[in-house]
Amino acid sequence: MNTATALKDEAHTDVTWQTICTKADLVTFSGVAAWLATAEGPAQVAIFYLPGHAQELYAIDHHDPFSDANVIARGIVGDIKGEPVVASPIYKQHFRLEDGSCVEDESVTLRTWPVRFDGEKVVIEA
């Protein structure tokens, strides 16, 4: 690996963590929607905030493939046998926040992205 490549990789790593919003923008035990820049173009992301839980933040696709509407952030958060899920507010399918997989239909998986707090900022890697 030459120096130039190493530098480029490092630079890339820095910009992949995008600041999306602040902690104050979040709604506890619920979701908000945001825009995210990805390699494939702009995406709508739903960010869920579960304060006090092992993993406090989740970022998952805001687009509901069953209704073709952008509504996932407006679903109810809960768990099924301990796995955190969100229920689509339209036809009520459940998606695992961990990996985006649909509980009712194995063939469907929503995109997910790593997300964390950076101080008061919420940052997503894309």
Binding site: F29, A33, S67, R74, I76
Partner: protein
């Protein structure tokens, strides 16, 4: 294989009453239509209807709701139904049935012509206003005559006579019953029972005259008719209804030379065959073993035997039990087997009489005290089911049989379902045994609804509903099917238990509840359910930080999400009354924000296509113009639909719009297990369709009649009459209690109609709790409702004054622009989702 029509035998059924129709159902279900081409003649213009509940025709039910079937059902199964066509003769030489319209060839005939009311041969019995009580036409005639009458007399104090008396009372007539025998219901009760029955019925304002033989009816002085009795005493009345027993409609059989009994009735054998084996007879026209059976259950059993005969089967009619369980004029009367103890020499009695509570119970037992031979109940039929099981199944009585009729703090004794043998009849209307129910469960049924559907149990008179449920629950448990009532995996409690926990422990947030009584994060089942419970109890704004994550999206954003993620907005238009100014504002708001407008079924205006981020601005303008939220998004009071009422309508008797507005404003914001709809009609024409609502109110001359637990939608249900002639205050108080009791005891997402159907004890129980305050809950329920009313505030007004709450209405937290994926197109001059 279906037999071609040409080779099928022609079966003609004469009579389309309850028994005739039951035979048709049996023919369909047992596959007899492969063998028979069936034609049914009915003399009335109505299709078979429920004569058992005929008196409800005066308390709000119409001919359609009493109907047992539909013309479509007959057509669907290729059965020719010829209503309003009377059969004149049966030509047995030509094998043809002759009507006033045509001749119809037959291979077999079933006579199901029923009976007619016996009118005693009294001079003057054919005067205008002397009527009978049997058919819907008879009831129409009684209703018409009652409009010109103040007083009414029923001649005959038996079962049907008391039904008729109830009907006259319902028509607001001063009512009297005249009975020839020394007591009312002489067939069912003895002297002591009869005395008690008389007291109870007189206390309802019905005059009871026994040992009276009417000599003649002539012109009256103070009323239209004067009845003169054997001792020259007189009674004046405007209307007379004869209900002095029934006589078989056997004239067709007589004319064609079939054997009939000395006192009427077509003689049949165990196969229901008459003296001409091509002709069968069933129901009240048939005379079996010198007896006519004037109840519906034996008629059904004859229909089953007749079907078996037609199909070459082995089922025979072997007589029927004449035990009856009735509620007449609100008084329970029960009679089992040899209730008088005069058919079993050596029989012994146990009797219990309580003149304070007005209850009477009698057991007739074998001389060794081990077998129940008969029983008689007046005042409380709670004892009936258990006694019936002892009687029906020949179970050995307990050492002290009196314990079966003595009052105890636990209420009437119940015989556990495990004590019943497999042959025990659970539903006598459809002849379903415990064995049949077990077989259904063994074949895979795991809930009550499936068992009901498969066996038809409890779909007749419904009297066995509680027993059926206990048998099903017991059998399911015995098979290891756990009847888990938990609301979801996060709480091992029912909704009702959670409600009680919240109320008793004063828990005000979901977090606290799940920490102390559940586990995990919760889910989309328990969160909205608990949110609803908290709102019912404390009525804090649902958008408060602690509550907002619990709500379904509709409640969160206080609007109704549509398929493309936009929302519809429904401001409250109480009672459907709106000023022109406000109407203009709705139009302007819709124009400004590009909304599709549609009038709803609940007399409001729905504005569709609102974007999430526009909702606060839309509501700002609506609130400015004086609107408030309509809760169209909530499991809560929706609308109170009304007709225009007495202020404009020439038929209206009360101000239905005024009442609707009062009620809507009283209960707006009440959150409940499911949505609640009201209707208020200003007169009996019922233009507001109140009887299809959870709460229906119909104006009377004297106040308001209250109906409850109706529903439109997927499974329509007529609301049931709950209380009559209430004044405004009584109406509010009754509804307060009713709604709070529903909120307290219903399951999640259970409408009042389903709640009512699952409520053990049914409507009577509900009346006891709400009207008689049998649980002593009345004051508490009213107080709880008052808390909800006092804490009402418009949720939208609350939200738009709070910047924290408004943050939720941003489309994206990092971009103010709207969601570009929401695209509209236009249709019929308005927009719609592309």
């Amino acid at each position: 294989m279906t037999t071609p029509a040409s080779t099928k035998q022609r079966l003609i059924i004469i009579g389309n009453g309850m028994v005739g129709h039951h035979l048709v159902e049996q023919l369909v279900e047992q596959g007899a239509l492969d063998r028979y081409q069936v034609t049914v003649f009915g003399e009335e213009r109505h299709l078979a209807y429920d004569r058992v509940h005929l008196s409800e025709y005066f308390s709000g039910r119409d001919a359609d709701s009493l109907a047992l079937s539909t013309a479509d059902y007959y057509a669907e199964h290729g059965i020719e139904l010829r209503l309003n066509e009377a059969v004149l003769t049966i030509d047995r030489q030509a094998n043809e049935v002759v009507t006033d319209q045509d001749r119809y060839p037959y291979d077999r005939v079933v006579l199901a012509t029923g009976s007619f009311p016996f009118v005693p041969p009294i001079p003057g019995n054919d005067r205008d206003g002397c009527l009978v009580y049997r058919t819907l036409e008879d009831l129409d005639a009684i209703r018409a005559a009652a409009e010109k009458a103040n007083t009414g007399v029923v001649v005959g104090g038996g079962l049907l006579g008391l039904e008729a008396a109830n009907a006259l009372r319902g028509l607001d007539l001063d009512t009297a019953v005249v009975e020839f025998a020394p007591r009312l219901m002489p067939m069912q009760v003895d002297t002591e029972g009869g005395e008690l029955l008389r007291e109870k019925i007189e206390s309802l304002g019905v005059q009871v005259l026994t040992e009276r033989a009417t000599q003649c009816i002539e012109d009256g002085d103070t009323a239209r008719h004067r009845m003169v009795f054997q001792d020259d005493k007189i009674l004046e009345t405007d209307l007379i209804v004869f209900s002095a027993g029934i006589r078989p409609r056997d004239e067709l059989a007589r004319d064609c030379g079939l054997e009939v009994g000395e006192r009427g009735g077509v003689v049949i054998d165990d196969q229901c065959l008459t003296s001409d084996p091509q002709i069968l007879a069933i129901g009240e026209v048939a005379l079996w073993n010198q007896s006519i059976f004037g109840l519906v259950a034996p008629g059904y059993q004859m229909a089953k035997a007749a079907l078996s005969t037609l199909m070459g089967g082995e089922t025979r009619f072997q007589g029927a039990d004449m035990s009856t369980k009735l509620k007449l004029l609100g008084v329970d009367v029960g009679s089992i087997g040899d209730a008088h103890g005069n058919q079993n020499p050596g029989a012994r009695n146990f009797r219990y009489l309580d003149q304070i509570k007005q209850e009477y119970r009698k057991l007739v037992v074998s001389s060794d005290g081990k077998q129940l031979l008969g029983a008689m109940l007046v005042g409380d039929n709670g004892y009936f089911d258990t006694l019936m099981q002892y009687y029906d199944n020949g179970l050995e009585l307990p050492d002290d049989p009196a314990s079966l009729i003595l009052p105890s703090s636990e209420g009437a004794p119940a015989l556990g379902p495990d004590a019943l043998p497999e042959t025990a009849t659970i539903c006598s209307c459809h002849n379903v045994t415990k064995g049949d129910i077990c077989a259904t469960i063994d074949a895979g049924a795991v809930d009550l609804a499936t068992v009901k559907g498969d066996t038809k149990a409890s779909s007749g008179c419904g009297g066995c509903a509680a027993l059926l449920k206990s048998v099903v629950d017991h059998e399911l448990t015995a098979r290891g099917v756990e009847v888990d009532q938990s609301i979801c995996e996060h709480f091992a409690h029912t909704r009702q238990e959670l409600y009680d926990i919240v109320r008793v422990e004063g828990i005000k947030t979901f977090g606290e509840l799940i920490e102390t009584h559940g586990h995990g994060l919760g889910c989309d089942i328990c969160k909205p359910a608990v949110a609803s419970i908290l709102a019912s109890c404390f009525n804090e704004p649902i958008t408060d930080a602690a509550h907002v994550p619990l709500q379904d999206t509709n409640d969160t954003f206080m609007a109704n999400m549509q398929k493309n993620g936009t929302y519809s907005v429904v401001p409250r238009i109480a009672g459907g009354e709106i000023t022109p100014d406000k109407l203009v504002v709705l139009g302007q708001v819709a124009q400004k924000y590009g909304l599709y407008t549609k009038v709803t079924g609940g007399q409001r205006i729905d504005l569709f296509g609102a974007r999430l981020e526009d909702l606060p601005d839309i509501w700002g303008e609506l609130i400015e113009a004086g609107f408030e939220t309509g809760h169209a998004y909530g499991k809560s009071l929706r609308t109170v639909k009304s007709c225009v009422g007495s202020t404009w309508c020439r038929y209206g008797v009360q101000d239905s719009v005024g009442m609707a507005i009062q009620l809507e404003n009283r209960y707006k914001g009440l959150r409940a297990p499911h949505k609640i709809k009201f209707g208020v009609s200003g007169c009996t024409r019922e233009c507001a369709e109140a009887q299809s609502k959870d709460i229906g109110i119909i104006a009377t001359e004297h106040g308001w009649n209250l109906y409850v637990c109706g529903n439109g939608g997927m499974r329509p249900r007529h609301a049931e009459l709950f209380a009559t002639d209430l004044n405004d205050e009584q109406l509010y108080r009754t509804i307060d209690r009713f709604l709070m009791f529903y909120v307290r005891t219903a399951d999640r997402l259970q409408r009042t109609s389903v709640w009512r159907e699952n409520l053990e004890g049914g409507l009577d129980y509900l009346k006891e709790v709400i009207l008689d305050d049998s649980l002593g809950l009345g004051d508490e329920l009213e107080r709880q409702m008052q808390t909800v009313i006092d804490n009402y505030q418009c949720e939208w007004a609350d939200a738009i004054s709070d910047p924290e709450k408004l943050k939720r209405f941003r489309s994206f937290v990092n971009d103010a622009r709207p969601d570009p994926d929401i695209i509209f197109t236009s249709e019929r001059g308005q927009l719609r989702p592309a």
